[in-house]
Amino acid sequence: MKRILPVVLAVFLLAGCSPLIEQKDTITIWHWMTDRQDAFTRLAQQYEQKTGVKVRFELYAPSDIYSRKIVAAAQARALPDIFGILGEKKRLALFVESGFVADLTDEFEKNDALWEKSFFEKALNVNRFEPDNAYKVKPGIYGVPLDVTNIQMLYNEELFVKAGIKEPPETFDQFLENIAVLNRLGIDGFVSGWGENWMIDCFSSIYALNIMGEEKVMATYRGEVSYTDEDWIKVLSLFKTMRDHKALVPGIVTKGNKYAEQDFALGRAAFAFNGSWCVNVYDKMNPALQYKVMLPPRVDPDVPMQIWGGAGSSFVVNQTAGNRQRIIDFLKWLTGKEQQVFLSQETKNLPSNREALSEIPDVLLQFAKAMDITTHPSLWPYNESPLVTEAFCKGIQAIIIGEATPEKVATDVQRLKEREMKRERQ
């Protein structure tokens, strides 16, 4: 025992009993983006060489653990200078209300709003709180978008050539015709991660917007229009039609998006519904994949499609950080054209800076062109109850596997909606 104890003590001492001395002049950034750490580190080195200011990017993944770290650090009053807040807008609102996030409106508006104008407006809106917002947050802009994203459809060019299809479909009927041709050659038509509810929600909501327009969708969320309305039946029937036309890859309702991405990357399906992050994913899985981006084919040809999109990831500034101006200067530099082009080329994400579009890879540019027609539930004046959305998505899964009809799903969802509204009123 006498011999062991000193050894134990030595291990403890060697293990480092004293806290590490934090360098106060270093800008510390916490993030969760594993694919961007190397690029961030290189940018930090560039910035230090240029300005002498040391920047340290600290990566914590996966995102759910990162979110827990942020909450724990907020409670311990130990947040870094810059960090990201994941999740819904109400989470950002909570951090703002609790005094953890700085209001950056003045910085964005300086020099005739030069910094603000450099971003896609939709991306900035995710971090913006308008006057009289539902979260009761002081109006302003509270975050800096680092990149943007949107979700569209993709098609495999080689499979199109094989099937003799010359142009991507513009309408839903053309899409079904293409599927029939592909099926005759034994090629599966469409794949998406419809094992994940949010992907179904995304697909169904853009068609709801196309079929009945935003006002009617919002009226449904407010409880003024029933889910049994013929337009909603039409939305649900799209999934039955796709099922009846054998447009969907087998097992689509159990596929997570990562597995759906494998299917498209390996040429197992001709169409995919996926977000702009897929460019990086497909490049890693199959660099030789030939594909292009297309808007989801319209059901109503007279109404333009809207797609989900907005800020991909954003950074916020710690309200209590001491060296505010240095932090802002760094963020302005990071979102400048050159750095955004670098990030886009290295990580294959869409830049948040509009000026960077001229120098990004072609497939990303195809995604970027649709940024102006993006929408997102976080920007809508009303959101559906999560329970109702979940029931709606599960109903669609039931339609796809033939367990329910669109009419039955609509009735069930409406019943739940009424119950939820009654509960809210109480």
Binding site: A61, V71, A78
Partner: protein, 281 residues
């Protein structure tokens, strides 16, 4: 004739049981083999090449994981955290368990049940208070802070396992040691600890696995990359959108190897400890 029949039945039973056990063993080994073969492939071939042994073996993945993936640094950290915390748990838990089992002191049962109650608190529920506490003590982002937390996490179950063993220790052994001039601490060290070797083996493997695989608390408490344990390396290969499977599998192989070795070295004690634990009480 009857003897011959009996032999045949034994042979058939033996064949069936061995085939069944081989099947079970294969189902246990298959994920490990799959992990190893995937670690020797590339991102392009991993989804295409279905063979158990890949056409081209990329041993470079292990080198890249060790150097670029910083598994070398993380590996050393995990060794330090696991060795220090497990050692401290053994010392503290065996002393406490011995006291709870053999000594009489006021509030003995109260404190023992308090330790048992600590086992009922789910670990994630204590994360935020731990982070706040460590920050207040200026121990956040230090190795010692993390080691202390992991000792705290492992103590309750270890005390419970060891107390169960000490309860069964014959008091005559203690009396003999006392006559030979042993102090209470001497009896613990020279008599109780050697007897509790199977239980200690169970405590070692439980805590080694727990600390070796721990990641959430490490992420919450530690901020610097060079303080992080092995699990961080694995998480980095699992992006939000894409996964670098070959590197992840190479990292997993590196991570799993020491635990497999610990188990192989201690399996006799572990089986004995578990079976004795099963019949205890």
């Amino acid at each position: 004739m009857a003897v011959s029949n009996y032999k045949w039945i034994r042979v058939v039973q033996s064949v069936f049981s061995h085939v069944f056990l081989i099947f079970v063993a294969l189902t246990c080994l298959f994920p490990l083999l799959w992990m190893l073969r995937s670690s020797l492939m590339t991102n392009e071939t991993i989804f295409i090449d279905k063979a158990l042994i890949p056409q081209t073996l990329h041993f470079n993945n292990f080198y890249l994981a060790w150097t670029q993936g910083k598994f070398g640094v993380y590996f050393l950290n995990s060794i330090i955290y696991t060795a220090s915390a497990v050692f401290a748990i053994i010392v503290i838990a065996s002393l406490a368990a011995y006291a709870f089992s053999r000594l009489q002191f006021p509030g003995k049962n109260f404190f023992f049940y308090l330790f048992l109650a600590a086992m009922m608190i789910p670990l994630p529920g204590s994360f935020v208070p731990l982070v706040v506490l460590m920050n207040k003590l200026h121990l956040a982002n230090t190795r010692i802070g993390y080691i202390l937390c992991m000792i705290n996490v492992g103590l309750s179950l270890s005390i419970y396992i060891l107390k169960t063993f000490f309860d069964k220790m014959p008091s005559a052994l203690e009396d003999a040691a006392r006559i030979d001039g042993c102090s209470k601490l001497g009896i613990w060290f020279h008599v109780a600890l050697p007897l509790a070797r199977p239980a200690i083996a169970v405590v070692v493997i439980f805590n080694t696995l727990n600390i070796w695989n721990e990641y959430i608390l490490a992420t919450l408490l530690l901020n610097h990359e060079h303080l992080m344990p092995l699990q961080r390396g694995l998480m980095v290969y699992q992006g939000a959108y894409s996964v670098d499977y070959p590197m992840l599998m190479a990292g997993l192989s590196i991570t799993a190897a020491p635990v497999v070795l610990v188990y192989l070295f201690m399996q006799k004690h572990i089986i004995k400890g578990l079976s004795e634990g099963a019949t205890a009480g």
